[in-house]
Symmetry: C2
Subunit: 299 residues, 2 copies
Amino acid sequence: MEDGFSLQDATVAIVGLGLMGGSLAMSLKGKCARLIGFDPHLPTVRLARAASTVDHAESFFALSEATTKPIDVLVLAAPVPTILGLLHQLRQVNYQLPLTLLDLGSTKRDILQAMSSLPENFDPIGGHPICGKEKLGLENASASLYQDAPFILTPLTRTTQRAISAACQIISAIGAHPLEMTAEQHDEILSATSHLPFLLSSALAHSTPRAFAPFIGPGFRSTSRLAGSPAHMMLGILQSNRDNILRAIRSFHCALNEIESALRDENYLALENLLQRARSEYHLLIDGETIPKFQSPIL
Amino acid sequence: MEDGFSLQDATVAIVGLGLMGGSLAMSLKGKCARLIGFDPHLPTVRLARAASTVDHAESFFALSEATTKPIDVLVLAAPVPTILGLLHQLRQVNYQLPLTLLDLGSTKRDILQAMSSLPENFDPIGGHPICGKEKLGLENASASLYQDAPFILTPLTRTTQRAISAACQIISAIGAHPLEMTAEQHDEILSATSHLPFLLSSALAHSTPRAFAPFIGPGFRSTSRLAGSPAHMMLGILQSNRDNILRAIRSFHCALNEIESALRDENYLALENLLQRARSEYHLLIDGETIPKFQSPIL
């Protein structure tokens, strides 16, 4: 290929073998030349070795050219604050070979800013697969996690065609589909489609008396499901996307206030109209749109 | 049996063969002597006949002693306003045989009030199975809909032991489990566990720009799912449980405001505490509680 990247000949290293990194390894298995995994959590490394999730697993991540075969793609699959820490660490590394760097972090603006100060042999690109589970860890990872999921790519000005091609080949190999946008667009969209729903689920769980547990049905279960997400994971996301999330909360307040006023005023015609509009908006959001494919010149 | 009710010898009539009534018929099939179904929607009656959902299906509901075999249990499986209309209609009926009357309406206070003015040969009891789907109609009905669902019973002062036994035998036959409470308790609980989540999902769908559709993941899908419920179905519920729902909205506003303030003030310690508390409350609500069984003396 013109841009010189071929996944089947590449060594891919994944930092973080939790739900996202572990599932990535499982679905990349056999589709690249070699898979290396790093995770600071020893039981995870042991599990990755026992299950042959990767060809080689280590607990301590260090990028060095002394390894037998150089790494072609480095994937950072960790919570946002950890990715920011890793990027800070990589700024000190004088790695001589060109290295494509992809992250899977849930917000992009802060991460892209950190990527922009990496030494020039790094060829970074931001990424965010729109999939997951509330239950984290390698023990919950699965080769099908990325199947049919949108995978957002946020290139930097310095990102080469080779890095875009590498990312697209990985995304295609795991069954996801790439979508390109800026980090700012990503963070605005995700504040509404992911971070706000998490906060609503949490507020719902928080406002519901425990004594009502025996009467919980499938509706409540579904609306509150995201409240089960680990708080420490979500905190870094909320912190690095604060302004957008505060705006999304305000716009939600307006929508709920409209409904509340109609009910309080017993204006049932207005209420039915609001609910009907919400229902058709729901269907447009969930089923209505076809997914635009990211057009990379090489694909 | 002492109270004289035996499901296997009983004729059960179901008014409304939609999702709830149709699923009830499917799961009662073969467990009672005879099943009769009524539905004003002709295609539903034709489908019920073609699929033998009931032994006999009619579009026009009329309670008359001239039928070959008298009805032992009459189940009203319709939206709340329709049930209220049917109860008003039954007030004029001079039915000489004792008849157990059970409804499946989503709110109970207004329905029990209407039941209390029925002629004395009616032996009424309020009911509400906590299960369902957003997709209504007989075509979405299934024999497993009630499996393991809580089924709330709200007896009136006049409800006899025979009616309680009849309801419990039906609930046990369809694989649900009975829970007894007052109509007021029911409506307060359901405002928080069912009606509020529906309004939150609707407000979320309403506040999310349509252009964000390609970036919807499983989290948004789950939190917004109830917004797909038909507005006309929900309107009667909201109308007849307005005060409780307005209270539940206010208590949700407080919980969301707490989260919003902590994020706005960048008080991340407070925010993490709130989210952790919400998470453990979620787990207590969803997994934590054992379900108390309704103890009817005869079971």
